[in-house]
Each structure stands twice: as C-alpha cells, then as structure tokens.
C-alpha cells in the first residue's frame, strides 16, 4: 500500500505538486473550454430551442440547415469581404508605420506611443466616435463638414447600401485601433535584423530606400509577416464589437452586414434561443477558421526551420 502511495506521489512528492500547480488551471480549462466544446458538439445534433438539455435528435439536420441558410452563408460572405479589405490594409499600414518610426530622425519613442495608443481604446468607444462624430450621417459630422468645404453633399454613411459606405466606416475604425499593435510586432522584427546585413548590402551597391526594403528588409521580416497575417485573419473572423456597435440600433440590425459572430449571437442568444443551430454554426465556423489558419500557415511556410 505504502509503495503504491510512494509511486503516486513520485520522488519528493513531485507528482502531487505538479497537480497542485497545474490542477486549478486544468480544472477551469475543462469546465469553461473543453466541456462547453463537447456540449456544443452534442447540442449541434439536437433540436434545442430555449433549452440546453434537448431530447429530439436531428443528426446532421442543424448543419444542413446552416449550410443552406442564406443568412449564414451571407455572413460568411460578409466576413470574406471584410478580410479582403482589412488584412492587406492593416498589414501595409502597420508595416509602413514601423518603417517610418524606425527611420525617424527624432521622437521615435513619441511616435511609437502615439500609434500604439489606440490599443488602449475599446471598440465601443471607437464606434461611438466613428458613428456619431467622424462619420455622422447628418451634416454635422467631421467628414461631411470637410466634404462640404469641397462643395460635396453630405453622405449618409451608415444608411445607404449602394454604394456600401458603411464599409469605409468599419474598416477605418479597425485600422485605427489595430495598426499600432501590429506595428510594435514589426518594430520588434526590425530590431532583430543585424546592422551588418545593411552594411553588406550597401557595399554590394543596393541603393537605400526601396531597393534595400525590397531585397533586404522585407525578406528578413518574413517570420514576423507570417505571424501578423495569421493573426490578422483569425481576428477578422472574430470581429464582432465594431459591427455590433456601429450598425445595431433599437430598430434592429441590418441583415446585409452581419459577420458570422454577429449572426450566431442573434441565432443563439436572440429571441429564438436556438442553441442547436447556433452550436452547429459555431462548429462550422471553428472548422473553417482552423482549416484557413492551417492552410494559410502552410502556404506561407509558418513553422519552417528557416522561418
């Protein structure tokens, strides 16, 4: 008996100590991440309106419904369009800012702080400024005022769908809020490039500016760039706050601009409390994100030795 106990405890009780340290975390992870995932998977095979202990098994019915639901498919389309706008623009802007800050004659620390500062702001507060001050649809918004100086009529930024001006509002908001964060990642990447590489390039006759950037800096930033792209795409999939706060009103939410998370929020936690379809949608989204992330990482060579 005592021998069994000694084996359980391990030398110096290290097996027990391991569980003292890791146990609380693991228990929480089980309860709030793993159990919910399992539960969700289970719910996704049932008809579960207003209940989380359903009885009517529908098999893959919920999945079939979601995959043929035009609203859900539209939400995936909305996301794809959003990613198409936001991923390259954020990438370019944050890399551009990092290059500018790196090359600043003076005040590097100051500029870095200014561009990073929006990270402290929440999407809710930013949405407030964008919706009611910058891009306010009536004449008093800042952008409309500036347009007025050039003799342009005020634009109803959020209430017209042709052309979809609300995209400009949503994309610029996320750009402002996020670019500084990715800029810091790029700055970290830039600081890891040894100076000798630039000196050697100069000796070989590479002109400063574009040539050096194209043939030296950018290739050496490869691993940072890959990480930033993967992060940008994952984050774009999960966009919720700015869409919800800019477009939702007391009158409801316009169906034309629902990314997946907003749609699932309304399906599962809206009036219908449709947990079955909500869970199926969440599973589809999770698989999609995993596939796209792994695919993108493979394509870009994340995890390669050299990266």
């Amino acid at each position: 008996m005592s021998q069994v106990w000694a084996r359980v405890r391990g030398p110096q009780g290290q097996n027990l100590w391991f569980w003292v340290f890791v146990g609380p975390f693991l228990a929480g992870l089980m309860l709030f991440v793993l159990v919910p995932l399992g539960w969700s998977l289970w719910l996704s095979f049932f008809d579960a309106h207003n209940t989380v202990t359903p009885t009517r098994f529908v098999g893959l019915g919920n999945y079939r419904d979601m995959l043929t639901d035009p609203a859900f498919l539209d939400s995936l389309g909305t996301f794809s369009l959003f990613a198409l706008f936001i991923v390259p623009t954020t990438f370019a802007l944050s890399l551009g800012l990092a290059m500018l800050v790196e090359k600043a004659l003076l005040g590097r620390g100051f500029f870095r702080s200014v561009f990073f500062l929006p990270t402290a702001c929440s999407y809710v507060v930013a949405a407030l400024v964008w919706k009611l001050s910058l891009f306010s649809g009536v004449r008093f918004g800042l952008v409309n005022t500036v347009l007025g100086w050039f003799g342009q009529d005020p634009v109803a930024w959020l209430s017209v769908t042709k052309p979809p001006w609300y995209w400009l509002v949503i994309v610029t908001l996320r750009l402002w809020l996020q670019a500084g964060f990715y800029m810091v990642l790029f700055l970290a990447g830039l600081s890891r490039i040894p100076r000798s590489v630039y000196e050697a390039a100069a000796v070989d006759g590479a002109g400063p500016g574009w040539q050096t950037f194209r043939w030296i800096t950018f290739p050496l930033l490869r691993s940072t760039s890959v990480a930033v792209l993967v992060l940008l795409l994952i984050n774009a999939y999960q966009s919720f706050d700015e869409f919800y706060n800019i477009l939702s009103t007391t009158a409801g939410y316009p169906p034309y601009a629902r990314p997946p998370l907003v749609y699932l929020y309304y399906v599962a936690l809206g009036n219908g409390q449709d947990f079955g379809h909500g869970s199926a949608g969440a599973m589809i989204l999770a698989v999609l994100i995993a596939v796209v992330t792994v695919g993108q990482a493979r394509f870009l060579g994340l995890g390669r030795r050299s990266a």
């Binding site: 340290f21 975390f25 693991l26 709030f32 090359k103 990270t119 507060v125 400024v129 500016g209 929020y265």
Partner: protein, 277 residues
C-alpha cells in the same frame, strides 16, 4: 547605416507628424464632444473647437439617475482587477508546474493546453454561456470573471518564461530546504516581477475593453460593465450626446493613464507574446 538628413529623412519626419495628427484626432473628438454643449455637437455648422467648454458635463453624468454609469464603472474596476489577479495566479502556477516539475504526463497536459489555443475563444461563447447559465452565474460577478481566467495562451507564455528562468536560483533555494511551493513564491515570483507586470497590464486592458462576454453574461443592468453601458446608450434611441461622449471619455481615461505610465512594459509584453487582442 549612416544617418543622413537628406530630403528623404525630412519627408519621413513630415509624414510622421501628419500620421500623428490623424491618429490623435479621434481622441480629440472624444474630448471635444465630451466637454461641449449638446448644440455644439449637433450644430449644422460644425466647428473644430467647441464654442464653450463645460466641465459640468462630468458631474452631470454621475448625477444622472437614469444612467447607471457610476455602477457600471465600479463593476469594470472590480471585474478587470479580479480577472487580472486571477489570471496571473492561475496561469503562472500552471506555467511553472509545466516548466519545472518533472511529471510523467506533463507532456500530454501541455499538448492539451496547446490544443485549446487552436480553438478561437469567440467561437465558444455560446456553449460557455450554456455552461455558465446552468451554474446559475448569469448576471453575476463570478460569471463575468471566472470563465475568462483560464487562458491557454497566458499559461503557455508563463511556461516559456519560467523555462528561461535561471535554474541556479531555484537550486540554491532547494538546498536551503525550500519545497516547490515556497521556492515559487519566495524566489521565482519576486524575480519575475517585470514579466508579471507586462502580462498583468495586457490582461487588464483586455478585461477593461472586453465586450462580447459581458454582453452575453451581464443581462441585468446591475452587472453591466462600462463597455456594455456605453453600448446600450449608443444603440438606444434617445440619449444626450454630450453625456454619452463624456461617459466614453471618462471610461478610457484610466486606461490611457495606465498606458502612458506602463508603456515600456506593455510594448515588451506585446513583443514577447506576439498575440493579444
């Protein structure tokens, strides 16, 4: 590389100043509208500076009985503090255990945690809501805080940090007869203060700005965090615009102060994590 003060450099500097103005503009608008009269915000002839500065807006905000702003601000302070402290304790312990305590199945546990990093947190909000509501935690402090403490990413970062921690310090402590527990609290934690501060600040900012989870859980207005309060007024029909902007400005003030004061640590933390939103 030589530093030249050619036209290229000057252009860089000019671009930086212009970008700075663009990046600071939203902060200025927040402040402007928060201290302006209602008529200044809605005036058809919009002016860059308000015609009159009203500091009384701040007092008015806290005095307004229709808006539970003070309560939601207090909730945010409590939630963010508890979430930060809780995350640091739970995740750092796990990270240390994984990094330093030899255990046969430690590898499997580590891969289980890494696996959860693949699961997008936002995708689990519906099932986690289901679990939390079946615990009866909807609209409670527990419901707002506890489910968010178990961040696989944070535990992973702590593990990486502790792997790099100088082993000699710990070995000296062990020779002095300290067990794992006391070695951890007396030697490892005090010597990792900067790392704790960096992760703590990032966690606090994330908690303060968190939106989706409080929106799901805080269904009763007594449990609203400041973000939910703002959002509710933002999507409501009738609200005093200046009051809304004042509230928003007040809500970001503590974070901006924290941010400016702890900048270096935050930047360090971000550089080290590479992932945080």
């Amino acid at each position: 590389m030589r530093r030249r003060t050619g036209p290229g450099r000057i252009a860089t500097q000019v671009l930086l100043v212009l970008a700075t103005l663009v990046f600071l503009l939203p902060f200025y608008l927040l402040l402007r509208n928060g201290l302006a009269r209602e008529t200044d915000i809605t005036s058809p002839s919009w002016t860059f500076f308000p015609t009159h500065i009203q500091w009384g807006n701040v007092r008015e905000l806290f005095d307004d009985p229709a808006v539970p702003f003070a309560r939601s601000l207090l909730n945010s302070v409590v939630v963010s503090t508890l979430q930060t402290v809780g995350t640091l304790v739970v995740c750092s312990l796990a990270g240390y255990g994984l990094a330093r305590i030899p255990y046969r199945h430690a590898g499997k546990v580590f891969w289980l945690i890494l696996g959860t990093l693949m699961v997008p947190t936002a995708v689990t909000f519906v099932p986690t809501f289901v679990v939390v509501s079946s615990l009866g935690w909807v609209s409670t402090l527990r419901g707002l805080v506890v489910p968010l403490l178990f961040s696989g990413l944070t535990a992973f970062l702590f593990r990486q940090h502790f792997l790099e921690f100088p082993k000699e310090l710990e070995e000296a402590a062990r020779i002095d007869g300290l067990g794992y527990w006391r070695t951890y609290w007396r030697i490892v934690v005090p010597n990792s203060r900067a790392f704790f501060a960096a992760i703590g600040t990032i966690t606090f900012i994330g908690a303060w700005n968190g939106f989706l989870w409080p929106l799901v859980i805080a269904q009763d207005s007594s449990a609203w965090t400041v973000q939910i309060a703002l959002s509710t007024f933002l999507t409501a029909q009738t609200v005093n615009l200046h009051e809304l902007f004042t509230a928003a400005a007040v809500s970001i003030a503590p974070l901006v102060v924290l941010f400016v004061a702890l900048q270096r640590w935050i930047v360090q933390g971000v550089e080290r994590t590479g992932i945080d939103d």
